[in-house]
């Protein structure tokens, strides 16, 4: 069983790393729509898939946050990716597998997943 003592050890280890974190302006932001429409469509699992993939790959230049209704309920779960160069990418109808793909191809290799991005006239 996981113990509180382990948590204390994690804290010691983390405290020695936290200071090295760079400021938020230079990070990629992943924003998941988590209003009722998003949650009903599966946003919780998409958000957790992002967090897990990012942790697995040790990407400390990415932060995952959530927001309310992005305003296109039928395309939920919706995920916006903001890159430090000022661009915004909107991914639609996301699921866990798609989240892993966005992390690998877009966040790691800087190749946006064209097939998952919002299309004109959708």
């Amino acid at each position: 069983m996981k113990s509180l003592a382990e948590l204390a050890a994690i804290r010691e280890k983390a405290l020695s790393n936290v200071n090295m974190r760079s400021d938020n302006d230079s990070k990629i932001r992943v924003v998941v729509g988590m209003a009722t429409c998003g949650i009903a469509a599966g946003a919780r699992d998409v958000l957790n898939a992002f967090s897990e993939e990012i942790a697995k790959r040790n990407l400390d230049n990415v932060i995952v946050t959530q927001t309310g209704c992005i305003g296109m309920c039928r395309l939920e779960p919706l995920v916006e990716v903001y890159t430090p160069d000022g661009n915004k990418y909107t991914y639609v109808k996301m699921n866990k597998e798609a989240a892993a793909k966005v992390v690998n191809e877009h966040l790691v290799n800087n190749k946006p997943c064209a097939d998952l991005l919002i299309q004109e006239g959708m």
């Binding site: 069983m1 996981k2 509180l4 382990e6 948590l7 204390a8 994690i10 804290r11 280890k13 983390a14 405290l15 936290v18 988590m34 209003a35 009722t36 429409c37 949650i39 009903a40 919780r44 699992d45 958000l47 957790n48 967090s51 990012i54 942790a55 040790n58 995952v64 946050t65 959530q66």
Partner: protein, 180 residues
């Protein structure tokens, strides 16, 4: 909504938006009483009587000026479809309490679903809010208070990958042991 745990996530987001500093989430499964319920209690801004009436029954109102919310009516509907009941009370300036109860064996009762993910999501994404999570299954229970964890963490956030991992496993093991 396919899972009770998704209703919980959605309703707790209301509490966060209402500025709650402490949110108590209680899940109770009592098979001998044929009941599963969840309760959410917050110390957010609360709602006055008239507003609350409107929120619970948005489609019975004659008002058309305000866009209606979906979260609370969806949960109420899920209760009613599963032989249960929905109760909500609120005091402006003090907070809100709601309880959603369902017949355990009702054919249209949604499964609790991935409650671990709901709790993990809330704790890691809402660092500034404290949560008390209590889950009872028959005669076993599990309780987690984020204030106690924060004391151990001394400022290291819950979304730090190692901490999040620990929490994921801690929640998973403890919730699972309720069913053994």
């Amino acid at each position: 909504m396919k899972e009770l745990s998704l209703h919980i996530l959605d309703l707790v987001e209301n509490s966060v938006k209402a500025g709650a500093k402490l949110i108590e989430i209680t899940v109770t499964e009592k098979i001998s009483d044929n009941i599963i319920s969840f309760e959410i209690k917050d110390n957010g801004c609360g709602m006055d009587k008239e507003f609350l009436e409107n929120v619970v029954n948005p489609f019975t109102t004659t008002r058309t000026t305000r866009k209606v919310g979906l979260g609370i009516p969806l949960t109420k509907l899920a209760c009613e479809q599963a032989g249960g009941s929905f109760h909500i009370e609120s005091t402006p300036g003090e907070g809100t309490y709601l309880k959603a109860a369902f017949m355990y064996d009702h054919i249209d009762r949604q499964p609790l679903g991935d409650i671990k993910s709901t709790v993990l999501t809330l704790i890691t994404m809402r660092e500034a809010t404290d949560f008390i999570y209590t889950h009872t299954v028959n005669d076993k229970d599990f309780k987690l208070d984020t204030r106690e964890l924060k004391e151990i963490l001394g400022g290291v956030p819950f979304n730090e990958p190692d901490v999040r991992n620990w929490l994921n496993e801690y929640l998973g093991e403890n919730i699972e042991s309720l069913y053994n």
